[in-house]
Subunit: 213 residues, 2 copies
DNA sequence: GGAGATATCCCCCGACCGGGGGAGGGGCGG
DNA sequence: CCGCCCCTCCCCCGGTCGGGGGATATCTCC
């Protein structure tokens, strides 16, 4: 690996955690810890001046916390990737952190190997999660339910447009068919979904995993 | 790294792709390609007999496809991790693959570095996605949007009922007010959300994080 | 070759919806 | 105290929607 080492900034309010991480990461020839921050504000500041490739960010920090700091760091020009590191599995932080734009989410209990791999992974631009987090994300998604009514391709297409808030006339134009045809399809979708009107159709269709919103 | 190398099984119907991957992965001292499969059935078979640590699985394969093969592979005793590799970003495969239990999802256009990192990452037990996939997963969730129009409490309440597919009359009954009142609230919600009708209001309201579905 | 599903078009009609007005009362902050 | 916002109710009207009947053509599967 003749590449320049990956430059890492550590942000954690526990000096001990920082020391531990530094030890683990600096042991790798291709990784280089270039700075440490004890709180979010300092992390943002150092991210700007040191221009690291990756920031290892703790969630809980005094003052500006890790989530806020993540947002701020990602607003910098040519922002680093942010790898959020936390102690607990079940805080709702995962979703918040990822929404804020973090590239990864790792548990502190992860081994040195995982930590090192994680930094390398986000450094090359991929996103990374601990397996449970991914399962949680997938689980709460609208599921392609097995009990979903069988719509014909055309019906799904029409439903999709209904879900865009289009009127029958607009859908007819979009699909290059007569309004009557659209009415027929809509009627059949309503029947299959047991919906009384298009609004219910959209909601039920969404819940059944038949349309994206 | 005194550890035993990570044993990798390649599953792709294109011999060329397999050769390319083998070249990339075998170049790393800590990775070892132990087998190749041209279709899903063969992949499952080899996964059982060769007991690899990681399977790089193409989605599109003749016969048993990558998704089905993923399910089957993960049903083996002490299953390997499955890293799904595909060409296109926007097949809906991502969700299906992850639901099936895949540990990661990677694009073929990823560079050699990313490929290698990805294998190592799933080998240590983490999950990995290409960034867009993660964004898609996160995107469709109720967002704590900052730019959401400010609805009054009553308006939010009405919108919630509209999102249940209720008519104005039903909402009026539910809230114990006159239909006219409901109409007023609905009109103001439509205005604030720039929606033409209640269906659009539901979709836009959902996207703005103002209603649950 | 017929049965079934799918997609296309047609008519009537009652109901609901959304836009346009207006109006009164209560609460809160300048 | 006066204005502003919120909630409540009222009237008119045109457009859209959804249900009820149909009809025709293509395609597949048996």
């Amino acid at each position: 690996m003749p590449d320049a080492p990956v430059r890492v900034l550590l942000a954690d309010d526990e000096p001990l955690v920082r020391s531990g991480l530094r030890l683990i990461l600096d042991a790798e020839p291709d990784l280089e810890v270039v700075g440490e921050a004890g709180d979010g504000a300092r992390a943002v500041e150092l991210a700007r001046s040191l221009r690291p490739d990756v920031v290892c960010m703790d969630v809980r920090m005094p003052g500006v916390d890790g989530l806020r700091a993540t947002e701020l760091v990602l607003r910098l020009p040519e922002p680093p990737r942010v790898l959020v590191v936390t102690t607990f599995e079940h805080d709702g932080y995962v979703l918040d952190a990822l929404t804020a734009g973090a590239s990864g989410f790792l548990l502190k209990r992860a081994g040195a190997d995982e930590m090192v791999q994680a930094v390398r992974t986000v450094a090359v631009g991929q996103s990374l999660l601990y397996p449970q987090a991914l399962r949680d994300l997938v689980r709460t998604r609208p599921r392609a339910a097995s009990g979903a009514p069988a719509l014909t391709p055309r019906e799904r297409e029409v439903l999709a447009l209904v879900a865009q808030g289009m009127t029958n006339a607009e859908i007819a134009t979009a699909l290059v068919v007569g309004v009557e045809t659209v009415r027929t399809h809509v009627a059949s979708v309503l029947g299959k979904l047991r919906a009384r009107d298009r609004t219910q159709a959209v909601v039920l269709g969404y819940r059944a995993g038949l349309v994206e919103l």
